[in-house]
């Protein structure tokens, strides 16, 4: 079984859940005898054993060093990124700003060429920035196409007010695909109900979570803890999708009851100014700290030092962060509007808009430490069963099914 996979992100580049998920899935597919050829839009350092092609190498057009793909797939289609379109006589690159939408089309153009050259049985494309590439590869090769939905335009908009150009790509690509895989039932419902896709075509494959060897790191926020403060952490992109504004409103209710609670918001995003202003307006400057975007060890130290983690997302297709927090020994309150709520039993769950209940859960969890301890002990056991291996087995089965019934 050979699969041609398109993704916009891949580790070790600092990025969101998409890269992490592609990596985990690819690694386990390889382990299960699936030969994965991964196509990425931009030359980058990569991790793991997959055979990798860079679309910008193929067309001899590179994206600029400063091109920030970090939040790329999650921004509006019109977000500008810098690309190298060629080189001048002295060998210096010529940059041109293009929209992500334009880049996605260019990626698709290259995908069609790559698909003609490569040998494979099935195509797998991750998220909207790669859907066009997947469709192009299908058209040029006639092979079966799987689209993998890690997020939709509805999640990014946190409402029905979606980016019309992204929605158009999603809907048309889903209709052309042979299978659509979503990371949760939550997302499946969106694809079926909002995009109007035939439910029989949409399968759920929950994300896995890699069991990591967690080592104890040097604690952070030591001074606050020494003063007897309790730390409640929210970590993620600060955008309308992540519901940080609801977290701040719950914080106000918590602090009214217990002034010794400190809320740490770690992350960055387009809503940061609004959230900082909200904190000021609600008189929470003493109790809310902004930690900036944290990665790797800094992030893990924060997970370990926090007493409680909150994921208040308005619309979260999966949501890996509570599982990461759990690995570092911190229990979570998670939004019911998330995919992870379908698979993690050992967490408190709340509707993102119910700030009263969110505050109640924060206060109660801090008040009764036994509940946090038990969610960690039992949650960690449950984590052992959420592996990429299980996800990869489902995906492999799906490939086999498609190839078997492919009309050639």
């Amino acid at each position: 079984m050979k699969v041609l996979t398109f993704s916009w992100e891949y580790p070790p580049a600092k990025n969101g859940g998409l890269g992490v998920a592609c990596f985990g899935l690819t690694r386990e597919l390889l382990a299960h005898g699936v030969a994965v050829t991964l196509v990425l839009p931009k030359t980058q350092e990569t991790r793991g054993d997959a055979r990798i092609l860079f679309a910008d190498t193929e067309r001899l057009v590179k994206m600029g060093e400063n091109a920030d793909l970090l939040f790329g797939p999650y921004n509006q289609a019109s977000t500008m990124i810098e690309s190298i379109i060629g080189y001048d006589a002295t060998g210096r690159p010529i940059y041109q700003a293009r929209t992500i939408l334009e880049e996605a089309h260019r990626f698709a153009h290259q995908a069609a060429l790559i698909a003609k050259m490569e040998d494979f049985d099935v195509i797998h494309a991750h998220d909207w920035t790669s859907y066009l590439a997947g469709v192009a590869a299908k058209i040029s090769s006639g092979k079966q196409l799987v689209l993998h939905v890690h997020a939709t335009s509805f999640d990014q908009a946190a409402s029905d007010n979606v980016d019309p150009s992204i929605f158009k790509i999603e809907k048309e690509a889903f209709e052309l695909a042979d299978k659509v895989v979503t990371v949760s039932n939550f997302t499946r419902d969106i694809v079926v109900n909002k995009h109007g896709i035939d439910p029989h075509k949409v399968e759920v494959v929950h994300n896995g979570c890699d069991a990591e060897e967690v080592r104890e790191l040097v604690p952070t926020l030591v001074e606050l803890k020494r003063q007897g403060k309790k730390i409640v952490l929210c970590h993620g992109r600060i955008s309308i999708q992540k519901g940080v504004d609801y977290f701040v409103r719950a914080a106000r209710l918590v602090v009214d009851v217990d002034p010794d609670v400190v809320f740490v918001i770690s992350g960055w995003g387009d809503m940061i100014t609004q959230v900082i202003e909200q904190v000021g307006a609600m008189g929470l400057s003493e109790n809310v700290r902004f930690a900036g975007a944290l990665w790797e060890e800094d992030r893990d130290r924060m997970y370990q030092s926090a007493d409680l983690f909150v994921m208040p997302s308005v619309s979260e297709p999966f949501g890996l962060v509570p599982l990461e927090a759990l690995q570092h020994g911190t229990s979570s309150i998670i939004s019911k509007q998330s995919g992870v709520a379908e698979v993690l039993t050992h967490a408190l769950k709340v509707d993102f808009w119910d700030v009263d209940e969110m505050a109640n859960q924060i206060l109660s969890a801090l008040r009764y430490p036994v509940v946090r301890e038990q969610m960690v002990t039992e949650g960690r056991l449950q984590l052992l069963g959420m592996t990429w291996k299980i996800a990869a087995q489902k995906v492999k089965h799906l490939y086999q099914h498609l190839v078997q019934y492919a009309v050639s």
């Binding site: 408190l348 505050a359 109640n360 109660s364 008040r367 009764y368 038990q374």
Partner: protein, 472 residues
Amino acid sequence: MLTVCPYFHVHQPYRVKKYRVFDIGEDTEYFNDASGTDLDNRYIVEKVAEKSYRPTNKVLKELLDKHPEFRFNLSFSGTVLDQFEAYAPDVLESFQELVATGRVEILADTYHHSLAFFYSVPEFKRQVQKHERRIKQLFGVKPRVFRNTELSYRNDLAKWCEDNGYLGIMSEGWEKYLGWRSPNYLYQPPGCSKIKVLLKNYKLSDDIAFRFGNKEWKDWPLSADTYADWINSHHGNGQTVNLFMDYESFGEHQWEDTGIFEFLKVVPEMIMRHPDTSFKTATETVAAYESAGEYDVPDILTWADTERDLTAWIGNDIQRDAIKAAYSMEEDVMKTRKRDLIETWRKLQTSDHFYYMCTKWSNDGDVHAYFSPYKSPYDAYITYMNALSDLKLRVAHVLKDKETVLAAAEQKIEKTKETKPEPSDQVDIPSKEDVEDVPASPPTEPDPGFFKNAWDRLKKIFPVVSPERKST
């Protein structure tokens, strides 16, 4: 000669409503959900009355009228009796009619369906006594055979029951303790000389209680005929077949459409078709047969799950934390001598609260095996602990007020008797009502006459007290 001893357990807890941290110190009502959902106690009692209690009692009454030899046993928690009285008095009356036939025996129990025996024997004893008074008041009978919450049992419980005059006690007939022996005989607990243990025949009991409507079961659909044959096959290798189950098996656990009522209507007759088979109540069974040997149960045995232990109630950390928190309040709660506080504390001892916090199923994914009105075990725990925190506050307030009053009284006596009298809001008189459940001198009370003396002294200082102020 083979006799059948059926026993149906009737129980409903007082479920704690959605109670948040913000409610602590603000809201003293924990059980008054009126949302028409599964947290609404009145709604549940009315629903189960319609599905189970009314139709089942109708069938049972017909059976008693039709078959003079038909007999069975009932056990009630006090919490279900209180709720019948408040929400479905006709159901209570129909139970009274059954008991009035003289062929329906009522078993002894804890009033609050609690696990008190394993946490506080004095509190356990008070609940058993309260239950006995309530049964006497409503049914005019005195229970002689004991059954404990969730059929939980241990050697020392049997000993306690013997010492307190019970003739029999019920337990699970479990291979671990029976070995090769049959549950269809009476046994004797070690260290006891009079009391006998009646063992549940779990196979025949669970055929009705759990498997009856299960279409996957190899014996589905079960006819009364077949079932009677299974019972009568014990002739020659048993004396009593003890069928113990939740009363709500009829109509609530096994819905009407499974045919459970049709089954119940005819099964006694089918069983008695065998000329040598009849029915006995628990007391009659204990009087009729001798012990066949010793039943030695050093660890807690229950009728639950494949483990037959208490892990569904106290198997995880939040459950153990919650139950420990409840029982650690005993001394202070009893010291208040406030009837409402004591009663609320006891309602919070009902085993169901801890069952809702069970996480056993999360490992095998069998969510439906453990029904709960809460969204998760963690929600159940938080709700419970918040309510308990509020009760703790109320108890502390009462105790502090008592101290203040006493201290003030002492001071005034020492000073002079000319002090101008003040309104006596703070005074709480331990009326007969308040202390009804409290023994005259509980072991935790250092000085039984303490409050009374103080009151006598106070009365000397303030001769006039308006009667409305007597209770707060």
